[in-house]
C-alpha cells in the first residue's frame, strides 16, 4: 500500500496546528468567527472585485479585500490559466494516445488478461476498435497527434500530454464535477473558485474566474461545475457570453435612458451617503457604496472586454473567426486571451454542448466535427499567446472529464472511460513535445504513473505557486482542501521534466 495512502491525512483537521495558522493563504472565516471587517473583506467579489478593493485599500481601517492579489507559497511558473474543457469525453486513443495493439486486436474482444472492465453501457465484451484516423508525428519532438488535429499537431513541441489520467466515475456529471471540483458530488468549490480564493485577481477591475460556456447548450452537471461550493459566493465563476449581455443584469432595461440612470444612481448614492453618515463607523456601508460605483463602471467596461472588433484581421484569422465552423470556439478562445491579458486569473472555455464529445456512435463523425471546430482556434490561441510572450507564464490545459473505451459501441462509437485518458498542458515553462505516463497496451487503463484527478489539481496549483496542502478553508468542522481529504501527490514529471 502506498505510504501516503496508508493513513488519514491529518492536514484536513489541522485547525489548531501552528502550520495552519501561519499560511500565507489565510482564511477569512476561520473558526467561523467573523468580524465585521472580515465580512467586509467579502465585499468586492462576484462579477467584479473590481475597483472596490482598490478603493478600500486607500482606507486605513480596511483589511485585505477578498480579491486582492495574494502572495503565493513559492515562486509561481504560471500566473494565469486557460482551461479548454472538451465536454463529453474526447477519445484519448483516437487523438493523443496511439495504440498499436488496437490494430492487432481489431475486431476481437478485450483479452482476458486485462480482467473485468466496468463500463457504463455494458460494452466490456465488444470488439476492440482501432483509432478512427491515422496518427502523425509532429514537430521536432515527433509527438504523435491524430491527423484530425493537424493545427494542434503543429504545436506539438509545446504540448506535454499526460496519458495516464484517472477518474472515479463512469458518468458525465460526476466526472465533470470531479475534474472541476475534485469531488464526484455536486456542490464543492470548483478549481477556479479555489484559485480566486487563494490568489485573488491581478486586476481589481476584473473578476478572477470567468467561464465561457458553449452557447449551444449547458454541460452535463450544469453550473455547479463552476460554483463556489462552501467558499463565499464571491468566488464563483462568472459566466460571460459574447454579445451585448455578457453578464447577468449588466445593462439597464431597454428604454432606460442614460440620463435617467445617472440621475437615479446619483439619488441612490445620495441616499447611501446620508445613511452612512448616520452610521459613521460602519465599513460595510462604505463597501456597499463602492459596490454601486463598481457596478456602474462595469456597465461600460465589460462590453469593451467582449468587443473583439479592435483585434486585427490577422488575429481573427489566427483563431478561425473567418470561417463559420471555427468562429464560435475561436471567438471564445480569443476572448480568453483578452481576459487573461487584462488580469483574469482563470478562464475556462467549454467546447461541446450537452452532448459534446460524447461519441457513443460514429466516433469519426462526432470527433471529426468537434476537432474541426476546435483545432484551429486552440492552435491559434497557443500561437497567439506565444507571439505575445504570454505563454511563458500562462498555463493552457486541454482535456475532458474522461476518455473513451478502446472497444466499440454500436459498431463505431465508444463508451466512457475514466480509468485511463489524456489531458495536455502547454506553457508556463512546462517542457513540451513529450508524453508522460501511459495507459496499458490497448488504452483501457492508466498503467504507468497513474495521475488521479487530485494529483492533476495539486500539480496545476503547484505551477501556480500554491502548495495544495496549504490552500484550505474551514467548513463544517473541517479544514477543507481542493485535493483532500486524502493525500495528493505532485506529478513530478510535469514540473521537472
Amino acid at each position: 500500500m502506498n505510504r501516503m495512502d496508508s493513513r488519514v491525512s491529518k492536514k484536513h483537521c489541522g485547525r489548531l496546528t501552528s502550520d495552519a495558522r501561519s499560511l500565507p493563504v489565510t482564511n477569512a472565516t476561520h473558526d467561523s468567527i467573523i468580524s465585521r471587517r472580515q465580512l467586509l473583506q467579502q465585499a468586492g467579489g462576484g462579477a467584479g472585485s473590481l475597483a472596490l478593493a482598490a478603493l478600500m485599500a486607500g482606507e486605513s481601517r480596511a483589511a485585505r479585500p477578498f480579491h486582492a492579489p495574494q502572495n503565493t507559497h513559492f515562486k509561481p511558473r504560471a500566473k494565469r490559466v486557460i482551461w479548454l474543457f472538451m465536454h463529453g469525453g474526447p477519445s484519448h486513443v483516437d487523438l493523443f494516445d496511439p495504440k498499436k495493439a488496437l490494430d492487432e486486436y481489431a475486431g476481437k474482444p478485450v483479452p482476458d488478461s486485462f480482467g473485468a472492465v466496468m463500463t457504463r453501457r455494458d460494452v466490456a465484451r465488444n470488439p476492440l476498435m482501432p483509432a478512427v484516423k491515422p496518427y502523425k508525428k509532429f514537430g521536432e519532438s515527433g509527438l504523435p497527434v491524430s491527423t484530425m488535429l493537424p493545427e494542434i499537431g503543429s504545436c506539438a513541441d509545446d504540448l506535454c500530454v499526460i496519458r495516464s489520467m484517472h477518474g472515479d466515475s463512469v458518468n458525465h456529471p460526476q466526472s465533470v464535477y470531479q475534474m472541476n471540483t475534485g469531488s464526484i458530488l455536486t456542490g464543492r468549490p470548483s478549481f477556479g473558485s479555489w484559485l480566486a480564493y487563494g490568489l485573488g485577481t491581478e486586476n481589481q477591475n476584473m473578476p478572477a474566474f470567468v467561464v465561457l460556456p458553449d452557447p449551444r447548450g449547458g454541460i452535463k452537471g450544469g453550473p455547479p461545475a463552476w460554483g463556489s461550493g462552501f467558499l463565499p459566493a464571491a468566488y464563483q465563476g462568472i459566466t460571460i457570453r459574447p454579445g451585448e449581455h455578457p453578464i447577468l443584469d449588466l445593462k439597464p432595461q431597454p428604454g432606460v435612458k442614460a440620463d435617467e440612470q445617472l440621475k437615479t444612481l446619483k439619488l441612490i448614492q445620495d441616499f447611501n451617503h446620508i445613511y452612512a453618515r448616520q452610521q459613521p463607523h460602519d465599513d460595510e456601508l462604505e463597501a456597499r457604496i463602492a459596490s454601486y460605483e463598481l457596478a456602474f463602471r462595469m456597465q461600460t467596461e465589460a462590453p469593451e472586454l467582449v468587443d473583439i472588433s479592435e483585434e486585427t484581421d490577422a488575429t481573427h484569422k489566427m483563431y478561425g473567426l473567418h470561417q463559420p465552423h471555427t468562429s464560435d470556439f475561436g471567438r471564445r478562445c480569443l476572448l480568453a486571451r483578452r481576459m487573461i491579458e487584462r488580469g483574469v486569473r482563470f478562464v475556462q472555455v467549454y467546447s461541446g454542448d450537452t452532448g459534446g464529445w460524447d461519441a457513443h456512435r460514429h466516433v469519426i463523425n462526432n470527433h471529426g466535427q468537434n476537432c474541426r471546430e476546435t483545432d484551429l482556434p486552440v492552435a491559434g490561441l497557443l500561437r497567439d499567446l506565444k507571439q505575445r510572450g504570454l505563454l511563458e507564464d500562462t498555463l493552457v490545459i486541454w482535456g475532458g472529464e474522461f476518455g473513451r473505451m478502446p472497444m466499440s459501441e454500436q459498431g463505431n462509437g465508444r463508451d466512457h472511460n475514466p480509468w485511463g485518458f489524456c489531458s495536455w498542458l502547454a506553457g508556463a515553462g512546462v517542457q513540451g513535445g513529450r508524453a508522460i505516463g501511459a495507459t496499458d497496451d490497448i488504452g483501457l487503463r492508466a498503467a504507468v504513473d497513474k495521475v488521479p484527478v487530485k494529483n492533476f489539481h495539486a500539480t496545476i496549483l503547484h505551477l501556480m505557486g500554491i502548495d495544495h496542502n496549504q490552500l484550505t478553508y474551514y467548513h463544517n468542522g473541517l479544514e477543507k482542501r481542493l485535493t483532500g481529504p486524502s493525500d495528493a501527490e505532485l506529478v513530478e514529471e510535469v514540473i521537472n521534466g
Binding site: 485547525r15 465585499a43 453550473p223 435612458k257 439619488l267 456597499r288
Partner: protein, 972 residues
C-alpha cells in the same frame, strides 16, 4: 479486522527473507515489552484507544482506526514508526520512549517488522471477518426482507441452517461448501441483478477470506457489540469531562451592575456586568421607529406598514412595546420567519440535489409546513426535537384508519432526517458507499443543528480536538440504523405499487383528512359510475330504437317473423327462423359496442361521457404521501469503519450517544416506542436523552441560536461547535441562565424571545461610537446593537411587500421557478403576485438569482449560519433587473394612489413604506431636487408624455432608487 493486513502478509509468504525470524524474535524479546510498558496504558485490549491494541502480536497486525500500523512490505512506512519518530506518541504527559527503546523499535522495523503471528493469521479468522462481506454482497436477497431460496446469510447459524439446497457451507471443507461453489461458478451474486440492487461483485480477496475461514474450521467467537456499560470509559478522562460545555448548565445568581437602573430584566444584568469590566455602558434606547422596524424584521422578516408604525408611535400606554412584541409573536408570519431559520439547519430542499436532474421531492413541503406551524404554536422545543428525531416511535402510526393530527405530525416531523442530498434513487448511484454518504450527511445535520458538536471527524479517526473516539461516531450511526440501514435501503423516489416497500414514502394523513380524501375519491367513483350507467342505458335504448327502426324498414309481412326469429336463441330456432336470422342479422342487429359508428347522437354522448370521466379522474386528489423516516426493525450490525472505509470494517458497536456527554457512562436505554412497534426504539432513546434536563448541550445550543438571530452573533459564535475547537462563550453565565430558564419554562421558544426582546440590551441604538471601536470593535459585548443587512428572503419579501405584490398565502406546494437561458432564475408569480420566499421551490440547482445574490446558500447538507457579502452583482440586479424594475413600478403606483397629492407627501410615504422612517430634511431636499430634475429630463426626452405618465415614470425612478438605498436594505 484482518482484511488488509492478511492480504499484505499472504503476499509476503512466498518471499520470506532471512531477517524474518530474527525480526519476530526481536519483537518478542524487545519490542513487545517496550510497547507494553510505554503504550499499553491507552492501547490495551480494553481501552483500545484509536481502536488500537499494542499488547498482542495479532492485535498489532489488526491495526487501528487508520488501518494497518505496520507495513510489512515497506517497514519504513509504518504508521507506528511515523508516530514515534514525529514525537506524537507517546503523548506529552506520558512516560516517553528512551533513545535506546526507539532504536530497538527502529531496528525491528528495519528487519521486516515481523511479530511472528503472520503465519497463523488464517487461523485467527472468525465469522466477524466474513459476515460483513456477506452482508455487503449477499444479504439484499438472502437476508432481512427477502430470503431467496429460503437462505439467510446474516448469521453463522442461519448460514449453517442453509436454504432449500442445504447448508451453505461445511466447516473445514471449502471445496464442498455450497456458498463458495456458487460464488466460484459466477452464479452468485447474479450479474444481471447487481446494478439493480446496487451490489458489487465479490472481490477475489474477499473470496479468499471466506475460503480460508471455512478451510480453517469456520471459527466463531461470541459477538459482543460495544456499548456503554456504566463503568468508567477508558477513552474519556475526568479532565475531558471538565470542559465547560460538557458540564450541565446551572443558573448562576444574577450579577449586579453599575448601571442597574437601566436594566429591564435579567439579561441586562449579565450583559452590563461584562460591560462594566470593559468600561462600557449600554447605549440609549432607540427610537420607536427603529424599534418597530427592528422587531418586524426580527420576528416576521417583513417591514411594518405605515399604519402599524403610526399606531405604535401613538400608543402611549406604558407597555406599548411589550404589546407590540406580543402582537408580532402571535402573527402567522412569525412562523414563516423563524421556521425559515430551522429549515436552513435541516437543509430543507424540494429536490434530491444530486446530478443534473436534481429530482423533485414531491412531499417535502409537508415538513416545511410542519416546522412553520410548530413555531407559530410555540411547540415546546423538547417536543419539537423529539418529533423530528423519533416521531415514528412516539406513538402508533401503523393503523392508517386511525391517525390523529398528533400522530400525523410525528411522522411528518421525521422529514427532518430525509432532507440530505440523496442520489440513491438509481441502482448505479445507490451503492453502499453512496448510502453511507447519506447517513453521514444526516449525522452531520443532526449534530450541527441540535447537538452542537462536530462529529464528522470521528467518522474516519478519533476527533483531533474533542474527546470523541471513532467508536462514538459509529454508536451514533447504529442509533439511526433501524431506519437508515445501508444494507437495507429505501430509495428516495416513489417506486413500486405500495408506498414504503421500496421507497421512503408513507401514505398517511390524519383520519379526518384521510376520510375527506376517501370521500372525494368515493364521490368521483360514484359520479363516474353514474355517468357510465347512464351511458349504458342510453346505449341500450338507442340500440333498441335503431333496431326497431331497421325492422320497420322491412316489408310488413315478414317483420314479425324476423323479429321473432332474431329474439329466439339459436338452438330453439326452427329451420325457417334460422334462415331468417342468418339473412337479416347483419341488417337488423347492432353491436352495442360499435354504436357510435352508426349513430351520431350517441357518438357525441359517448365522447362527452369519456371526457367527463377523464376530467373527473384528473381531479382526483393525489396520493397522501409523506416523506418520512421510520424504524423498520432488524437493523444490520454496525461496525467501526477503519478510516471511514466501508471495505475495512472493524469491531461491531451497538447504539449509543457520545460518551463525553454521559458522565456516568450509563448505557442507552432502548425500548420499542409502543406496543406492536416494528422499530427498535433506538432513536426514541436518543430523543429522550436529548431533552433530559441534565443534557449539557441541547438547551444551550438552541438558546444560543435564538440569541444569534436577535443580536447578530451567538454568545458562542460557533453555533454548531461547542467543543474544544469552537469559540468560548462571551457570556457563559448568561447562556447557562437562559438555558436553564428555557427548560424551566417548558422549552418555550417564545419565552426566550420575550426575555431577549424586552431587555434594554435589545432596545439599544446601533450607533457606533469611538469607545466601541476602541474597546469592543466586533461588538461582542453589546454596548450597542449591530446594524444588519436583510437576509436574502427578507429582502425579496420586502421588495414584494412594499410594492403591494406580496401574497400572504401560506403552506402547500411550493411555487415553481424558471431558469432562463442566460442563467437567471426567478420564481413564478401567480395572478400578478408572489408568495413569501419560504414558499418558493427550494431546488438545490435552481436558487432564484435574487436569493443567491444575497447569500442564500445551497444546502450542503445544511446551512449553519448565513454569511453576508457585499458584491457588485447585488447592485447590478437591484439596478437593472427587469423584475425588480417592474416591482418598482408597482411601488410607484401605490405611492401615487395612496401617498397624497403633493411631492412632499408622496416622498414621505414612499420613504416610510420602504425604510419605515420619515425622510430627514436633507433627504427630502435631495429627493425633491432629483424628482424635479427627472421630470425635466423625461419631459425633454418625451414631450408628448401626459402628466400622469410623467408622474409614474418619475416615481418609478424614485422607488427604484429607494429599493437600492442602504436604509431599505439595512436594519438599524
Amino acid at each position: 479486522m484482518l482484511v488488509l493486513t492478511l492480504v499484505a502478509s499472504t503476499l509476503f509468504v512466498g518471499q520470506q527473507s532471512l531477517g524474518q525470524e530474527n525480526s519476530s524474535e526481536l519483537f518478542k524479546t524487545d519490542v513487545l515489552p517496550i510497547l507494553k510498558a510505554k503504550c499499553a496504558k491507552c492501547h490495551n485490549a480494553d481501552a483500545q484507544k484509536g481502536e488500537l491494541n499494542l499488547t498482542d502480536a495479532n492485535a498489532i497486525l489488526d491495526g487501528g482506526e487508520s488501518g494497518a500500523v505496520i507495513s510489512t512490505d515497506d517497514p519504513e512506512a509504518s504508521l507506528l514508526w511515523e508516530y514515534i519518530e514525529s514525537g506524537e506518541m507517546p503523548p506529552e504527559k506520558s512516560p516517553q520512549l528512551t533513545q535506546a527503546e526507539k532504536d530497538r523499535i527502529h531496528q525491528w522495523i528495519k528487519s521486516g517488522a515481523k511479530t511472528g503471528a503472520e503465519a497463523n493469521r488464517q487461523q485467527e479468522l472468525t465469522q466477524l471477518d466474513i459476515l460483513p462481506i456477506l452482508q455487503l454482497r449477499c444479504t439484499v436477497c438472502h437476508g432481512t426482507r427477502v430470503k431467496e431460496g429460503d437462505l439467510d446469510l446474516r448469521s453463522v447459524e442461519s448460514i449453517l441452517a442453509g436454504g432449500k439446497s442445504g447448508p451453505a457451507f461445511i466447516a473445514g471443507n471449502a471445496k464442498e461448501s455450497l456458498l463458495l461453489k456458487r460464488v466460484h461458478a459466477g452464479e452468485m451474486p447474479p450479474k444481471q441483478q447487481l446494478v439493480r440492487v446496487s451490489v458489487k461483485p465479490v472481490a477475489d480477496s474477499e473470496i479468499k477470506l471466506i475460503v480460508d475461514w471455512i478451510a480453517s474450521g469456520a471459527k466463531t467467537v461470541e459477538i459482543k457489540e460495544d456499548v456503554a456499560n456504566g463503568k468508567p470509559d477508558p477513552l474519556i478522562s475526568d479532565e475531558d469531562r471538565e470542559f465547560w460545555s460538557f458540564v450541565p448548565p446551572v443558573k448562576a445568581n444574577i450579577p449586579t451592575a453599575k448601571q442597574s437602573a437601566k436594566a429591564r430584566n435579567a439579561v441586562d444584568y449579565f450583559v452590563m456586568a461584562k460591560l462594566d469590566e470593559l468600561g462600557l455602558e449600554l447605549s440609549p434606547e432607540a427610537s420607536r421607529r427603529t424599534l418597530i422596524r427592528r422587531l418586524y424584521f426580527d420576528l416576521l422578516g417583513l417591514p411594518p406598514a405605515p399604519a402599524e408604525i403610526a399606531e405604535f408611535e401613538s400608543d402611549t400606554r406604558p407597555d406599548a412595546y411589550e404589546r407590540l412584541v406580543e402582537k408580532l409573536l402571535a402573527s402567522p408570519e412569525y412562523g414563516a420567519r423563524w421556521g425559515g431559520y430551522w429549515l436552513d439547519l435541516a437543509g430543507y430542499a424540494d429536490s434530491e440535489g444530486l446530478q443534473e436532474s436534481d429530482r423533485f421531492r414531491p412531499a417535502a413541503y409537508r415538513y416545511r409546513d410542519y416546522v412553520i406551524s410548530s413555531f407559530n404554536r410555540d411547540k415546546s422545543y423538547a417536543r419539537f426535537v423529539m418529533e423530528q428525531l423519533a416521531g415514528d416511535e412516539l406513538a402508533d402510526y401503523t393503523d392508517p384508519e386511525n391517525v390523529s393530527q398528533q400522530v400525523y405530525e410525528n411522522v411528518i416531523a421525521t422529514g427532518f432526517m430525509r432532507m440530505t442530498i440523496d442520489g440513491t434513487f438509481a441502482g448505479i448511484t445507490g451503492f453502499v458507499p453512496d448510502r453511507l454518504v447519506v447517513v453521514g450527511d444526516l449525522l452531520q445535520v443532526y449534530t450541527s443543528s441540535m447537538l452542537g458538536l462536530t462529529m464528522k471527524c470521528a467518522k474516519c479517526h478519533t476527533h483531533k480536538f474533542d474527546p470523541i473516539p471513532q467508536r462514538d461516531y459509529y454508536r451514533l450511526a447504529a442509533i439511526f440504523k433501524g431506519a437508515l440501514d445501508e444494507n437495507d435501503w429505501l430509495i428516495p423516489i416513489r417506486e413500486g405499487s405500495e408506498p414504503g416497500q421500496r421507497d421512503r414514502f408513507m401514505t398517511l394523513a390524519p383520519t379526518e383528512e384521510r376520510r375527506a380524501w376517501q370521500a372525494e375519491h368515493d364521490r368521483i367513483d360514484s359520479e363516474i359510475s353514474k355517468l357510465e350507467s347512464d351511458l349504458e342505458s342510453l346505449r341500450q335504448a338507442t340500440t333498441n330504437r335503431l333496431e326497431k327502426e331497421r325492422l320497420e324498414r322491412l316489408p310488413e309481412t315478414i317483420r314479425g317473423d324476423v323479429a321473432t326469429a332474431l329474439a329466439t336463441v339459436d338452438e330453439k330456432r326452427s329451420e325457417i327462423q334460422k334462415y331468417l336470422a342468418e339473412k337479416f342479422a347483419d341488417t337488423i342487429t347492432l353491436d352495442p359496442a360499435k354504436l357510435a359508428e352508426v349513430d351520431e347522437d350517441f357518438k357525441k354522448a359517448e365522447e362527452s361521457t369519456t371526457n367527463q370521466i377523464k376530467s373527473l379522474n384528473n381531479s382526483r386528489p393525489e396520493e397522501l404521501l409523506v416523506r418520512a423516516l421510520w424504524d423498520r426493525g432488524a437493523p444490520s450490525p454496525t461496525y467501526i469503519l477503519k478510516r471511514g472505509d466501508y471495505l475495512t470494517p472493524g469491531r461491531p458497536v451497538g447504539p449509543g450517544v457520545p460518551s463525553i456527554l454521559v458522565p456516568d457512562n450509563r448505557p442507552l436505554k432502548v425500548q420499542p416506542g409502543f406496543e406492536g412497534s416494528p422499530g427498535t426504539g433506538r432513536r426514541l432513546a436518543l430523543a429522550k436523552w436529548m431533552v433530559e434536563e441534565d443534557h449539557p448541550l441541547t438547551a444551550r445550543v438552541m438558546v444560543n441560536r435564538i440569541w444569534r438571530y436577535h443580536f447578530g452573533q451567538g454568545i458562542v459564535r460557533t453555533l454548531d461547535d461547542f467543543g474544544i475547537a469552537g469559540a468560548r462563550p462571551t457570556h457563559q453565565e448568561l447562556l447557562d441562565w437562559l438555558a436553564v430558564e428555557f427548560m424551566e419554562h417548558g422549552w418555550s421558544i417564545k419565552h426566550m424571545h420575550r426575555l431577549m426582546l424586552l431587555s434594554a440590551t435589545y432596545r439599544q441604538q446601533s450607533l457606533i461610537r469611538d469607545e466601541h471601536l476602541d474597546k469592543d470593535p466586533e461588538n461582542l459585548y453589546l454596548a450597542r446593537m449591530s446594524i444588519r443587512r436583510l437576509d436574502a428572503e427578507s429582502l425579496r419579501d420586502s421588495l414584494l411587500s412594499v410594492s403591494g405584490l406580496l401574497k400572504k398565502e401560506p403552506f402547500g406546494k411550493p411555487d415553481t421557478v424558471t431558469r432562463r437561458e442566460d442563467g437567471l432564475v426567478t420564481s413564478n408569480g401567480q395572478n400578478g403576485g408572489w408568495r413569501r420566499s419560504i414558499f418558493v421551490m427550494k431546488r438545490r440547482t435552481e436558487i432564484p438569482t435574487i436569493l443567491a445574490n444575497f447569500d442564500r446558500p445551497r444546502m450542503s447538507p445544511n446551512c449553519i449560519d448565513r454569511v453576508t457579502s457585499t458584491v457588485a452583482p447585488q447592485a447590478l440586479q437591484l439596478l437593472n433587473n427587469a423584475q425588480v424594475k417592474s416591482w418598482a413600478e408597482s411601488f410607484a403606483a401605490r405611492v401615487i394612489s395612496e401617498g397624497g397629492n403633493t411631492d412632499a407627501q408622496r416622498i414621505s410615504y414612499a420613504y416610510v413604506l420602504a425604510t419605515s422612517y420619515q425622510p430627514v430634511e436633507s433627504e427630502l431636499e435631495i429627493t425633491q431636487q432629483a424628482i424635479d430634475k427627472l421630470r425635466v429630463a423625461w419631459k425633454t426626452d418625451s414631450p408628448d408624455m401626459n402628466d400622469e405618465e410623467l408622474t409614474a415614470k418619475v416615481y418609478t425612478n424614485l422607488c427604484h432608487a429607494l429599493f437600492n438605498s442602504a436604509s431599505f436594505v439595512y436594519v438599524d
